[in-house]
Amino acid sequence: MESLATHNLVWLITALPLLGFLFHAFVGKRAGRAVVGYIACAVVLASFAMSVIVTVDLMGLPAEGRRAVASLLPGLREPAPWIEIGPLRATFGALIDPLSMLMCLIVTGVGGLIHIYALGYMAGDKDHARFFTYFNLFIFFMLTLVLADNILLMFVGWEGVGLCSYLLIAFWYEDMENSKAGNKAFIVNRVGDVGFALGIMAIFATFGTVAFHDPSGAGFLDMAARGVSAQGALTVGAATLIGLLLFAGACGKSAQFPLYVWLPDAMAGPTPVSALIHAATMVTAGVVMIARVSPVLVHSPVAMTVVAVVGVFTAFYAATIALTQNDIKKVLAYSTVSQLGYMFLGCGVGAFASGMFHVTTHAFFKALLFLGAGSVIHALSGEQDMRRMGGLRDRIPVTHGTMLVGWLAICGMFPLAGFWSKDEIIGYAAGFGVVGPFLAVAAMLTSLLTAFYMSRLMWKTFWSAPRFRETPRVEDGFGGGGAANALNLHEEEEAAHGGQDSGAHGGVHAVHESPPSMTAPLIVLAVLSAVGGLIGTPWANLFERFLEPAVAAYPIHHGLPVVPGLVIGAAIAAAGMGLAWSLYSRRREQGAILSDAQRRRIAPHRAAANLWYVDAAFTKVFVEWGGAVATAVWRRIDSGVIDGLVNGVAVLTDVLSERLRYTQGGVTRIYAVTMLTGIVALVVGVLAWGLGR
């Protein structure tokens, strides 16, 4: 491993958001909204700048040796030791390689844009300082996760982002539903974390180390690349075990089936939270982790197949649900679950770079879509139900224009970002052994559904006739412009919670565009969504070459010839969009294909709208039955047995002492008898002992 010239700047990448967190936590309330906002954005953008500098330095190294280790604590040459218990060693170190720097750039770059958006969005909130405290803390933990040089430190970051996710989902905790959503997210994550923790233990048991790489080649990824383990050769069984356990953890964090149920409920949080955490960064942590340990994973065809199959299944499954949702944020949430499935499909078939490419492009367009949705909600004074939207194309042009770009990207239309990444994955999936063609077909079907439901979203929101009641704007002394609107925003969104279909109360106040602090990031993200995919075209795949030193090599090949594959992809996207056009353009007034009655009657629609009853099943089994078991245990075992034992001791003492009282009754004769009995016993005892010898 080389050493970087700028290694002493690495600690700043994680330290700056941490300092922001500390500042906001301790003096945020007193410092005032402007100061808090500027510092929150400044630390993230400064971290971005540091990431850029380090990345440029990294690219100066030759491709094979493009890997370095730096200390996360300031002023040290080597990473500081953290845990040293026998053979278990972990350090506070950062692994600088293309994968980690890519994620740093995404997290700080897109995260910085979202911070700027949040300046406007959360300006009127009474817990302004608390929001940015958690937001900066999240960035810190996410950077720790991606920069960690050992899997234990990665786990620390993993848990930390889970914590911040909980804190931010339940940000408006006064409403019980939001708290419950936060709980759900944390608990379901925890279930996955069990798998992750067991996976770490399996790694340590197999390889004897938890460090990813080591200058002397003793990190477990180095060992896996050479095919060795601590016991000799790396067995397929060990690799399968590690792969499946770690994937279980990834399912929790990245919302794959069946641990996805928390992500739609997580929409209870403010929209910047949804954009940052549940679209661009935290949910991709699972994919990042899988890509990071890819050298181990490639030794297990079983694990890879499982990853691919679960990924594509989740993608299709979530797409079917997204077709039926009425809340704009929920559509995007299920869309995220579906796109994450694509990423895992890519990793599962061995195209780790493609999976990461989709992570990157998805970060751009999904963040764009979420922020745009926030802008729409703001424009409609808190309305989130698409059945009460419509006709917004000319009313909020900037939002519409940027969301149009995002829509084209996610549908996979040439030449935007989503087109390149999605089709690359489908192409590699088709070439994955025997099941490849099935995976590819399923992925293509999902693409069709994706194009359709995203178009449905656009039609209902922008292009159909307005279906809301509008009251003229009343001059209320706040003055005009964006600031006043922003002040009301959180109340609107707060008011919109408590259910999927609640909306603006009392009708919509005059529809207005969002302030520049919110539209500027939208524009930047739109540009990135448009051109960001060009670094990964099949003919000049700069992205794949960039990531090559960081992920495992696997004999992937395109199952489809390149150009026909691209054409098919574009055709599918066009088909989905066209189908939506044909259906919705005829129903501009209603803005819906099916009536409410039809929705209830058609069984598949009903099932999908009820989330295929998975949530209900979980509630029944874990909440109700689990609760019943817990109550029974409490009553029978805790109260009955354990309390019974403790009380029983007291009762026993009472009873015994009642009986034994008579030995001390004061009746002298009894004392004499007792003494004499004792003497007899003693004599007999000594005799017997003496005889025994």
Partner: protein
């Protein structure tokens, strides 16, 4: 059976009989009198064991003084009447009998399984003059023997007895 043995058998029977009578009678005066009889029989036994001085002391002190004290107290407390006290319960008597018998068995059993006393180390001289006043006196007041110290301590003990008895018997301390 030699004359010695026959004599011993008679004395033993008498002592056991009188001891049983002590326990059996309900009238404490009768019990006391039977105890006197027992003590005198024991004194004769001591004589057969060449303990002449001790036999004399037994009669003088035990039978003569201690039993007299007992009888005085019985008379003082007017316990002559047997109706004064209730009968002991049957459970108690069974327990007592069992206890006594088990005690006897234990002791005899211990004796039976022991290694035995070995050959007697008695000399004709010890048998004849072993327990005379002169022998005992010489041993008691011999400065080299431990008995002199015990003798002095016993005098203190008897003083304590006197003082204690007087204190206990006073009406007002």
């Amino acid at each position: 059976m030699s004359a010695h043995l026959a004599f011993f058998a008679v004395l033993a029977a008498l002592s056991v009989l009188s001891a049983v009578m002590v326990v059996v009678h309900r009238n404490p005066v009768r019990s006391a009198l039977w105890l006197v009889c027992n003590l005198i029989v024991l004194a004769v036994l001591y004589l057969t064991l060449s303990a002449q001085f001790v036999a004399a002391v037994q009669v003088i002190v035990y039978a003569g003084a201690i039993m007299v004290l007992f009888l005085f107290t019985i008379m003082l407390l007017n316990l002559g009447a047997p109706e004064a006290l209730r009968e002991t319960g049957r459970v108690q008597r069974a327990v007592g009998a069992a206890l006594g018998l088990s005690f006897l068995t234990a002791i005899l059993g211990a004796g039976a399984v022991s290694v035995g006393l070995g050959a007697p180390a008695a000399t004709p001289e010890s048998l004849s003059t072993g327990g005379t006043v002169e022998t005992i006196g010489k041993l008691l007041f011999d400065a080299g023997q431990p008995w002199l110290f015990s003798f002095e301590l016993t005098s203190v003990l008897l003083l304590m007895g006197i003082v204690g008895a007087i204190v206990l018997a006073k009406r007002r301390i």
